[in-house]
Each structure stands twice: as C-alpha cells, then as structure tokens.
Amino acid sequence: MNTILYILGIVAWISWMGIFAWLAVEGYKKVGKIEKVEIVKKA
C-alpha cells in the first residue's frame, strides 16, 4: 500500500512540475502580445 502511495506521490509531483515546465517552455513559444480583446455573441 505504502509503495503504491509513494509511486502515486512521485507521479503527482512530477506531473505538477511537468505541467508548469511545459507551459514555461513549449506553451511560451506560441505566446504573443495581446492586441485586441473582443466580446462576441455566440451564434
């Protein structure tokens, strides 16, 4: 039981850091300056 919890713990921690690492690197490459914000009605 403890081993499973430990492995889950590692996975959770690495995923949490991994998501932010991905956002800071891969996501960041596609980010540009906000030029315009519009509100549009859904069709």
Partner: protein, 548 residues
C-alpha cells in the same frame, strides 16, 4: 547608557537613515514624474534591483521565526523543507510570469490585467481583494516590528508602530516603486550580514557542528521527520499567495524586459533558502543552549538571548527590522499602485492628468498607512491575519491562472467563479474547516463555476495576439528551464524515492550531510552576494553601452 536604550537608538537610527537613503537615491536617479514611474518604475527595472526586491519582499519575519520554530521542533528536516516548499510555488509562478510579460509588456497591476480581459466588475473585485490583503500584510508587518522592538527594549508598541510605519510610509509615498527598490537592496545587504556574520559566530559560540550533532538525539537528524506530507496545504496556499500576489505582478510589469523577469525569478526561487536555513540554525541552536522546554516560536529569540554578545544583538535587531520593513514597503506600494491604477486611472478618474492622480496617490498612501498603523495597535495575532490572506487568494487563484493560460473564460465565468471561490474560502476560514479541505474546496468551486459558466455563456471572448517574437538569446533556453524544474522535482521527491530505494522512511543524516545542509545557509548568502554583484555589472554595462 543602558543596553535597552542603545538597542532602541540603533533601531530608530537604522530605520530613519535607510528611509532617508531610499528616498534620496530614488529622487536623485529616478524622480517620479508620471504614474508609470510611481507604480511600475517606468518599466525600466534592471537585474540587480529586481533580484534584490524579490528576495527582500518574500523574506519576512516569518522566514526567520517560522523556520527556527520548525527546526526547533522537528530538527534538520525543517531546515530542508521550508526552502523547497517556497521554491516549488515560485517556479510554478515562473511560467505565469513568463507568459504575462510576453502577453502584456505594458501592464500595470494584477487587477489591470484581469480588467483588460474581463471588464470593470472583475477589475474592482481583484483590486479590492488586493488592497484588503495588503492592508493585512502591512498591519502584520508593522505589528511584528513594533512587538520585536517592544520585547527587546520595552518601548511602547504603538510608538514603535508609528516610527516603523512612519519611515517606510514616508519614502514609499514620495518615491513610489523606485524608492522601494533601492530600499530593498539596502535591506537585502543588511540581512545578508546576519547570514554571513551572526550565524557563523553563534554557531561557533555554541561549540560548532560536532557539538550540535552529538548533543541532540539522532531522530533530530532524520531528513524525513517532517516534509512532503506536512507541506501539501502549505504548497497550495503558497502557490495561491505567490501567483496572486500583487507585489509579484507589479515587479513582472516593472521589469525592463523578459530576461529581467526570468533571472529575477531564479533568484526569487533560490534566494529564500539561505535565510530559511539561517533561521533554522538559530532555532536548532536553542535546543543546544537550553534543556528547558521553551515555546517553539521563541526558539530564535532564546538563541539570541543566550548566545549573542551585545554587538551581535544590535545586528540581529536591525537585520530583523530590515526583513520586516522590506516586505512591508513592497506590500504598501502594491496597495497604493492598485488604488492608483485600478480605481483611479482606469475607472473613476479616467482622463485625469498624471499630476492629479499622483496627488491622489499620495493622499491615499497617507490614509492607508495611517489606518495600517492604527490597526497594528489593535492586532492580537499576526498568524490570523496572514492565514486570512492566504485563504482569500485561494478563492481567486484559479481564475488568475486561467486568465493566463486559457482564453475561453468569459466575463461572467470569471466574475461568478471569483465570487464562488471567495465565498467558500472565507466560509471555510470562519467555520474553521480543516485547512486542506477549505483550500481544495475553494479552488474546486471557483474552477467548476468559472469553467462551467464560461462554457454555457452566451458570449465568448475573442483575443487577438501579435505573432510570437523570436526568443531572445539572453532568455533561458528550453533546456535550462527543464533542468531547473527537474532538479526541483528530484529534490522535492527525495523522501519518496529514498524510501523506495532504501525501504525505510527514516533516513538519519550522517554528520557530513548535516554540516553540508547547515553550511548552505552562509554559503547561500555568499552566493547571493556574488549574484547581485554580477547583476550589478550587467546592469552597468546595459546602461553604459546599451548592451542587450
């Protein structure tokens, strides 16, 4: 002259002289002419001041006393987990900061960013929360500083509050962000002295590392005694607190470019650890110098009382005052900037000249400061104020993160999500729910409401971006960023993988490892000095030659 009077005189002298220098340097090199100078330093802040202000703002009296308290109670593991616990949320916020600086290079405040996306309702909610939260922060800091002076000298708390509050209100009100930044640099240098001078002296007075290692029971050196399992809520709260901090966002917008944000954040994530370890050492020494059971919160004070010669007591007092005022002035300035931008410049006084708004800023600053000093006279517990602050941020942190990473959130979704999150987080605080439950519920409710309403909303957001620029050569390479996160992930999960490999949760650190961990306090201080000097060199080069 009695020792108490000399201590008091030194404290007052330190506060007045540093306030004078902060104001003078700010006035001489960066006079405030426009709102942009006052609130975001003209968006021209360089590496040295950015790195120093991040460390100074985030190191508070809590850093020293809470780390000392934990080390006194649980031993070596307390010293490890505070720095790791702070570095995690800061590195997570790094991703947010990178995006925000790219998306809104000419931003102002957290409220302004939210308002740009979702309109005045959301702007005013966030700005209101920021001002309230900053009021608690400033009140808690004034109370902590004046109580410290009262304990050591018997000086009345309210008079201490007036002097302490009066000094940083003076230079922050007149000089805006630049005065705060110069003040923070002076204060970082002051509390680096504690790590480089006071802690080694106290360690040697206690008999050195081997005396400590032999005097305390082995379980005190169990690196897993306290840590990852105890820190879940701390991590979540601190992430909300960091990602939602108006002072952090203000600094991101004030940076002259993306490189300053990145390098500032690296120092931000690492700069806390030397001070946390130094606080931990002072706390642990209390176990050695007295066999009596003392209140853990008094551990640092006990070590200083029993070991420090008078000259060192003076240094420690001004160091602690530096730690307290450097956080207080940043939060104070963040509150004033939020008022100026979100309530005046962008909402109720649109079109007014900079001169009029700057005059209003100074009036608001004086009123806000006076009210904070008044409140400090009535505070009974700092912890309650700070807890409340953390909870309030948890109510809105999901929406703030979504504003950066998810473009589909609508005005109604953000507004209702924030109201729902705040209601639950405050309800949890008032009804005293278990902390982790209250935190998770407030984030969860905020997430469900904001995403759900956004998806069924009749209106949708259409955000147009310019094409992404080339990533500057001075920016961190993808490899560097991944390595940074991987190192932290590896360190923070050590209790898990060591338990898996060694088959035991109890890992007693040998003598050499204990020495290494404790030595990281003063060594880290030295590294921080080196980093600030290098950044100073880079900034001078930038100013003289315009080198990118």
């Amino acid at each position: 002259m009695e020792e108490e009077s000399i201590l008091l005189l030194c404290a007052i002298l330190y506060l007045v002289v540093t306030a004078g220098i902060s104001r003078y340097v700010g006035w001489k090199y960066h006079p405030v002419k426009k709102i942009v100078d006052y609130t975001v330093g003209g968006r021209q802040v360089g590496l040295t001041l950015m790195a120093a202000t991040f460390v100074a703002t985030w190191c508070s009296s809590y850093t020293i006393f809470a780390c000392g308290e934990t080390s006194y109670t649980v031993g070596l593991s307390g010293m490890i987990w505070y720095p790791v616990g702070v570095a995690g949320p800061v590195l997570a916020t790094f991703a947010i900061a990178r995006w925000v600086k790219r998306k809104v290079p000419a931003g102002w405040t957290l409220g302004d960013y939210v308002g740009t996306l979702w309109g005045t309702r959301c702007r005013l909610i966030v700005a209101g929360i920021v001002i309230l939260a900053m009021l608690f922060e400033v009140t808690a800091a004034i109370f902590a500083g004046s109580s410290l002076v009262h304990e050591l000298t018997g000086f009345p708390v309210i008079l201490g509050a007036l002097i302490l509050g009066g000094t940083f209100i003076f230079y922050t009100t007149l000089g805006g962000l630049w005065a705060v930044l110069f003040g923070d640099l002076i204060r970082v240098c002051t509390f680096l002295l504690i790590g480089l001078v006071a802690v080694p002296i106290l360690l040697s007075k206690a008999g050195g590392f081997s005396v400590i290692y032999n005097a305390l029971p082995p379980n005190f050196f169990d690196v897993n005694a306290w840590g990852i399992a105890d820190m879940q809520n701390f991590w979540l709260l601190l992430f909300g607190y960091t990602a939602g901090s108006a002072a952090v966002w203000q600094r991101v917008f004030a940076a002259r470019d993306e490189e300053v944000v990145e390098k500032g954040f690296l120092t931000f994530a690492l700069g806390w650890f030397p001070f946390a370890i130094c606080g931990g050492i002072l706390g642990m020494l209390a176990r050695v110098v007295t066999t009596e059971e003392i209140l853990p919160a008094m551990a640092v004070g006990t070590t200083v009382d029993m070991l420090a010669p008078f000259g060192l007591e003076v240094l420690l007092l001004i160091g602690l005052l530096a730690v307290i005022t450097s956080s207080a002035d940043s939060f104070f300035n963040a509150a004033v900037s939020t008022w100026v931008i979100d309530f005046e410049h962008k909402t109720f006084r649109r079109g007014s000249s900079d001169k009029v708004i700057l005059r209003d800023a100074k009036i608001f600053a004086l009123l806000f400061g006076a009210f904070a000093i008044f409140c400090a006279g009535y505070v009974r517990s700092i912890i309650n104020l700070l807890q409340y602050n953390s909870y309030i941020f948890m109510g809105i942190v999901f929406v703030i993160c979504a504003s950066v990473f998810w473009d589909k959130m609508t005005r109604n979704g953000a507004f209702i999500g924030m109201i729902g999150g705040l209601t639950v987080s405050l309800g949890g605080y008032v009804l005293q729910w278990p902390p982790l439950l209250a935190t998770l519920l407030s984030v969860g409710i905020c997430a469900v409401l904001s995403v759900g309403i956004s998806l069924i909303d009749r209106e949708e957001m259409k955000i147009t971006y310019s094409s992404p620029p080339e990533i500057s050569k001075r920016a961190f390479s993808p490899k560097t960023v991944y390595i940074m996160y991987a190192i932290l992930a590896l360190i923070a999960s050590y209790p898990l993988w060591t338990a898996l490999i060694w088959g035991s949760e109890v890992v007693i650190a040998p003598f050499w490892l204990t020495v290494l961990i404790m030595a990281l306090g003063p060594i880290g201080c030295l590294a921080l000095v080196g980093q600030l000097v290098y950044y100073g060199y880079r900034d001078l080069k930038y100013v003289k030659e315009g080198i990118q």
